[in-house]
Symmetry: C2
Subunit: 348 residues, 2 copies
């Protein structure tokens, strides 16, 4: 029984049978069903070539998602899946918790599922060449890059925004409106990842505006989730009633912060302005609409897969793609009008 | 080169090497890394048995997600992945649009990736035995069941809530508070799926409360997304100013409806009460907190995988798991107090 027999049996070409078996999209529904039925009826088992014996699963790309509860990743994964699918690959998904090691997880997945390539979606990027060598397949860091590691640029690929510059831009929008008591809500100033980079951008923007850095306004949540963002904002706004603006590292955390501010009797934006980075669907429906720098989520997933495909199929090398955000104006930014009810004499 | 050579080379047992290669969790990090390094250094290629030749990818479960932009699915997928992982399986993810056919997509994925089993996450459930026969592997309908189809109960598996009963409960909570002009926001009254079932529950609850069904209060969005929910609510509340309560089919759509009500100068819950079904993380941070019937999302993913594992490994048969929701009280329910500014004489 060969693929030729299947083709004859249902009256289509060999290449059509092959396209059906590889899930190519350019086959009509009717033909696809006819071929699949023939495969079943003939009990056809594809002939495995020598290459298949060595690497029987030839068309899986892995996606390791760190912190999958973040809705930011959903459109990135969807775009990655669509791009992979169009090229005949499927996506093997593996979700890990924010504290877990994405390299170990990715290496294990790559071996056990015989992946062709790997996308790391979120991660602490401080890899050495030695650590990254554990990954047996080409990989792309998606949404982050190697700002704290020692790897050569040519030794890895990435798709990301310029986190420092975008944070500078966000905080600059607050400073421009006269805000001086600008807090930042982030998970950690030293996570060797996105949080730390955006914190550096925050510091640079304050310096550019001549505002001294005040550690009391750096609000670390430790956990990267909405519950922590809510708790920390509630506690810190009470301790620092003179804050008039808040830069939040991510939309989801900003949504939680908006509720904390509301319950602390702060009107947004009249008493406190809020700006974030991400642009998830949900944040377009907060009241008022969250002002945020929108990352091109679909483009990130698309580009990450394209880099892998270039490496796997077209002898492409590692490369780095830097994308830009777009400001969604929203309604959470206002000029600074210090209201007497929340201000207090400066502390030293 | 055999697995025995690898075991000797790194001084562990053959079964330890096997466990590492199959990503079993009960191997220490240090041993795992040692074995993986040995595999690389020895250029060891696993010996493929006859069974592997026929079915080289033996440990993938597929998840076909219909409407992946719905954040409701994220914790379901996470739990499915964790349960699968613990049993040595990985998840191949495939996302389709709400209008696409999950059976065709699942059948194609199952063949091309040689899946062992399939979870359909969201779908229109009106399958005939003939249509379902296209799926070459055991499958579980997760979050829905075969209410509109003709299949025997023993011919498929499902994990779901009782959509009619839960909708009755939600609408009953509104009627109890004296509401009579209760609108429902849903995608379609005839989707042969969740929307239609919940619409039936809505009708039953109205009847139980002696409230006549009024087609003007059945707000169909057609698209199952936030943008449509926002637009439709805005238009319909203007056309029906006497509405004092709204039952929404899903949290994400309810969040969009809350914004539409706000922009239509309706206070929630003083002017309009809102209740939904789902319990996504995000809806705990609306202002006020959305009152909703929380589905056990993680339990759904866990149970769906367990049914597949029972079938694949323990000769288990098809079964149906019905789970219950839990009311999260929130702050969007209030007694009906018809405010003069929005009421008008009844139309006939």
């Amino acid at each position: 029984m060969t693929i030729r027999d299947v083709a004859e049996y249902c009256g289509v070409s060999v290449s059509t049978v092959s396209r059906v078996m590889n899930s190519h999209p350019d086959v009509s529904q009717a033909v696809r069903e006819r071929v699949l039925r023939a495969i079943d009826e003939l009990h056809y088992v594809p002939n495995t070539s020598a290459r298949d014996l060595v690497c029987p699963q030839t068309d899986l790309l892995g996606v390791v998602v760190r912190g999958a509860e973040n809705p930011f990743f959903t459109p990135v994964i969807r775009a990655a899946e669509e791009t992979a699918e169009a090229a005949g690959y499927a996506i093997a998904l593996h979700q890990i918790k924010p504290g877990e090691d994405e390299i170990l997880a990715g290496a294990s997945l790559a071996r056990s599922k015989r992946l062709k390539g790997l996308i790391l979606l979120g991660g602490s990027y401080d890899y050495t060449a030695e650590r990254a060598a554990a990954l047996p397949v080409p990989f792309v860091c998606c949404t982050f890059t190697n700002s704290f590691g020692s790897m050569e640029q040519g030794a890895f690929s990435s798709v990301s925004i310029d986190d420092r510059a975008e944070a500078r831009r966000a905080v600059g929008l607050l400073a421009e409106r006269g805000h001086r008591r600008i807090a930042m809500l982030l998970d950690s100033v030293s996570d060797h990842s996105i949080s730390q980079l955006r914190y550096q951008g925050y510091c640079q923007a304050l310096e550019a505006a001549g505002i001294p850095l005040d550690g009391r306004l750096v609000w670390e949540t430790v956990n990267y989730d909405m519950a922590s963002a809510y708790e920390v904002t509630k506690r810190r706004i009470a301790e620092n009633p003179d804050v008039t603006a808040l830069f939040v590292i991510a939309d989801a955390m900003a949504i939680a912060a908006l509720k904390a501010l509301h319950e602390s009797a702060r009107r947004v934006p009249e008493d406190v302005s809020v700006i974030a980075i991400d642009g998830i669907d949900m944040s377009a429906y907060t009241i008022p609409t969250l002002t945020t720098l929108v990352q091109p989520q679909a483009e990130m997933g698309h580009q990450a897969v394209n880099i892998l495909l270039d490496m796997l199929e077209r002898q492409g090398g590692n490369r780095h793609v830097l994308l830009e955000t777009a400001l969604r104006p929203g309604g959470t930014l206002a000029p600074c009008v210090r209201t007497e009810r929340f201000s207090h004499p400066p502390r030293v």
